[in-house]
Symmetry: C2
Subunit: 568 residues, 2 copies
């Protein structure tokens, strides 16, 4: 495997072997390269930031739910280190090309399509797809480069270097709807003039496990767990992530009306059950059970269709429902799907978008609950009007534009769909993760703990942060968590057999913890201190009337996470 | 002297003696109270911030150029401690009422007029003046409360809690044009529902020096210096601060086209000489020599009139010319006056406004050099349109909205009109002052040093920061600097005789340095580190072609300022 470095300023390419980093993949690799090579105080959109794509250690191995990849860079949204990972087939294809990491350096004004194949790298003018919706751009790319290629794309928002711009990868059916959503990394790509990356692995020899028999044995065990665990074999395939709506609403944690309260009166209209019912009822192109990666056993994704059965968009995730639905007081799944569709067409993070619209609704710029109006206003993002630019800047910046304290963020990033006053372990994650408010950086919603109590949350979040980093290192989906968590030795066998490097269960945990240290170290050098390990202040003094709680986890205890991980 | 505390939440009033703080005035007092009473991580617009008005130790003494006062609070623009001071008669009148500090606590939704007189505090509904231009609001106040009152006011921008909202005090002629401009303190006032503060000192006995004869003697000496020093007796009265245009242009430090270069081809059209020529030629209500405070010998202010001799606005300061003129590529003083007028009517900081418009011009939202269009666009701030809101958020936030690295700020605040690549001592001040980019926090333009050289700038800035803090403590205008600087013993005699407290020259210096420590300490607890002691990154790698320099002061040496002052 190699590391490919592309200088977008002069379009030069350099190839390194991964030698130094050979035990690192995914987030462990993006974060380590950022730590080693990027000045933490650089401007995220300036020439000194880098944008790094890296495959997980298991990506391409054939293990279920393990074809994920990471994108890393200094985030324009948080000002800190960022990693955002996704499934689909783009990371898989990068791995097929023998590339462990793809590092983009420098900036440029115009936009290029970067084409990677066994013949090397070429740069094409991106003008024909600038300003286009992502589905159209992806079609154009397939038309030009062949139906077999995989792509990464930024949308009109990335071209405009907006904070909520994401990077879209492609699912197994060719839709550019698998998202490196968080942290504004689409804007970093935009600053570097990367409109699209086309991955053509034709004619490349397949990666095979280094120790085939061992790998087969471990794989069987791993797949067996996935199939015998209810979450991965039944709940997620049937209801997808939206199965969480009922859970969080019952906890008073479903963000409603700009994170002012954690329950929604008509939550049943947006539940996973309702979503499944509608999709099945409408038939046609819709499906409640859809795999983003080939061979995934969990298949938590879905395709949502309209009343005529025509595909609208997909997937409708729990986060999308929480942020674009309840958070906006919208309880109509068709409206949510329309918003979701625009996010997918413009290349934007649904969470940050929901956060942005929520703050604007609380400021009476858009009426709460008015899905049609929200759709119209979101279209201004594409047009780049002043209001579109405002939405594109994300919730934290909008709070500054409108002078309001009611901004559901931590380290500048919008919270995912869990009110931290009601699921306090996630509050700890939001406050202490080097990633800012990000559930995938330390998900605690399924922990066996009283989520309303401040006790024990620091430990729960701290462990979850390590566990999530393990998935991000290996390229595994966090939904395998229920089946695999804690079985590190067997997982290590799987990784060892596939890569030929020796890993123990302890190694797997140690690399995750080391990665967190590397990230905390980067952030500290970027100017973060324990004072930044906080949520927006209102969560501490305004009660969530759904859960009847404020966020009251002991701050000194909470800060121990950052302190411990700051000793590099 | 007393400290008056007003809780704007429940409109309750508490009175304290200044005992604990009796040797502190102005900035020394606002910063100390903030340090002692405000949580550094609080939201600047939330209930836990305070807004403090404090008179300088010499305010009201009759000493020339010494009736200034400070306003302090945690800044929504920088996220750190803020002090902004101004002249005029409002601080003077607060002093007459026997109030050393006026502390506003808590927040409220509606707006009040806070009326202070010998009868105490009363609160009136501010509805009749909401949304009005400041000149109209001030007239209304005089009509209601009498022509003899002094006022502080916020404009439509403060009502909207915009980052560039300032607090306007009143000059000796009743115009609300003396500004606590920097740091968005008008937004803090807005968050607390303070639309206006009316100060009625009628029937109050005059403050007199505690030791009259000693005071008279020191005062004579001090006034003698002011009258014999060319800067204070000739240059500033004749040309005002605009005398600097030629100086900075010659240094390549006149910010031009969004701080991209430091020289302007037709700088002579906006020089102090040209300004004087136009004002004298037009006659009528205009004057090139105007005192903002009664009895001021320096009289650096001016009144600008139109071709018919009717007052347009005043003062046209160097900073206004640099930020609203050359920085926008506008070289027509009438256009600059029109922009200046709108700033005065809307209650906004001219520096931050010029910074905001400059970034927008560089993004092609407004054409560079188009004064008429700039005026039209600035009117959107009053209307609160999305573009108006964008302008109101200030340059740093606009940089995030438009995804650009070309933002002339330090700690979130727009730089005043000196390119830090060409006057490097000011670059050090911008980077290291607890106030962010602020020339009045450590002005080095008149230092005898090669301004293009990186050598010696740290020492020059460090000393200037102490000296500026001395003025801010005593309520003195920094323009007395040329005459008084270094003569601390005589100044101490003046203060001792007036207040009855004993001060030596060393005490005066020590209090200033202690104040800086208090401020650094606050900022450190707010999350600032040495990594924040930087300018926008582009100043380090993009050459100012006017001066042929980048900002290259040794960073380690520069950071010693913050380190030394961080030992509280």
């Amino acid at each position: 495997m190699k590391i490919l470095k592309i200088n977008m300023g002069n379009l030069s390419v350099k190839e390194d072997l991964v030698t130094k980093y050979k035990r690192l993949g995914g987030r462990a690799l993006t974060s380590k390269i950022l730590h080693d090579e990027v000045s933490p105080t650089c401007h995220p959109l300036g020439p000194n930031n880098k944008l790094i794509f890296a495959t997980g250690l298991l990506t391409g191995s054939g293990a279920s739910s393990a074809d994920r990849y990471s994108v890393g860079g200094k985030s324009p949204l948080t000002g800190g280190i960022k990693e955002s990972n996704a499934g689909g087939i783009s990371g898989l294809t990068l791995g097929k090309l023998g590339i462990r990491a793809l590092v983009f350096e420098n900036i440029r004004e115009d936009f290029k399509i970067v084409h990677l194949s066994k013949n090397g790298v070429k740069f094409d003018d991106a003008a024909p797809i600038l300003g286009k919706d992502l589905s159209e751009a992806a079609s154009w790319i397939r038309g030009k480069y062949g139906k077999h290629v995989a792509v990464w794309l930024i949308g009109v928002t990335g071209e405009q270097k907006m904070n909520l711009a994401a990077i879209a990868g492609q699912d197994k059916d060719g839709h550019p709807t698998r998202y490196n959503g968080r942290g504004g990394l689409g804007a970093v790509a935009g600053s570097k003039g990367i409109k699209a990356i086309v991955l053509d692995a034709s004619g490349v020899e397949k990666n095979r496990p280094k120790r085939k028999e061992e790998f087969k044995k471990s794989l069987k065990q791993y797949h067996g767990w996935l199939m015998e665990t209810p979450a991965t074999s039944k709940v997620l395939p049937e209801f997808g992530t939206a199965s969480l709506v009922k859970t969080t609403n019952a906890l008073g944690a479903l963000p409603t009306r700009n994170f002012s309260i954690g329950v929604m009166e008509d939550y049943e209209n947006i539940s996973g059950e309702k979503l499944r019912e509608i999709i099945l009822e409408r038939g046609g192109e819709g499906t409640p059970t859809h795999a983003c990666m080939p061979g995934c056993i969990i298949r938590c994704s879905n395709v949502f269709s309209d009343k005529e059965g025509n595909r609208v968009t997909g997937p409708i995730e729990y986060e999308n429902i929480g942020l674009l639905g309840s958070n906006l007081d919208i309880s109509n799944l068709d409206d949510i799907a329309d918003l979701n569709l625009l996010c997918n067409e413009y290349g934007i993070d649904t969470i940050e978008t929901g956060g942005a619209l929520g703050v604007l609704m609380a400021q009476n710029v858009i009426p709460f609950g008015d899905g049609k109006r929200a759709v119209e206003v979101l279209k201004e993002v594409k047009a780049g009007t002043p209001l579109g630019r405002i939405i594109g800047s994300g919730a934290e910046v909008i709070g500054k534009i409108y002078g309001t304290v009611h901004v559901p963020t931590a380290k500048g990033q919008t919270m995912p769909a869990y009110d931290p006053r009601a699921i306090k372990g996630l509050g700890v994650t939001y406050a202490t993760s080097p990633m800012g408010a990000d559930h995938t950086a330390g998900q605690t919603v399924r922990a066996q703990i009283d989520h309303h109590s401040p006790e024990g949350q620091v430990e729960v979040s701290k462990n979850a942060q390590t566990v999530n980093t393990i998935w991000d290192h290996l390229g595994m989906c966090m939904f395998s968590s229920g089946a695999v968590q804690g079985r590190w030795d067997i997982l290590a066998d799987l990784v060892s057999a596939y890569t030929g490097e020796e890993f123990t269960g302890e190694d797997i945990v140690a690399i995750a913890n080391e990665t967190l240290k590397v990230e905390h170290s980067f952030n500290r050098k970027a100017g973060f201190t324990k004072e930044h390990d906080k949520l927006s202040e209102y969560f501490y003094y305004e009660e969530n009337k759904g859960s009847k709680t404020v966020f009251d986890v002991n701050q000194d205890e909470l800060e121990t996470i950052g302190v411990e991980r700051n000793d590099l």
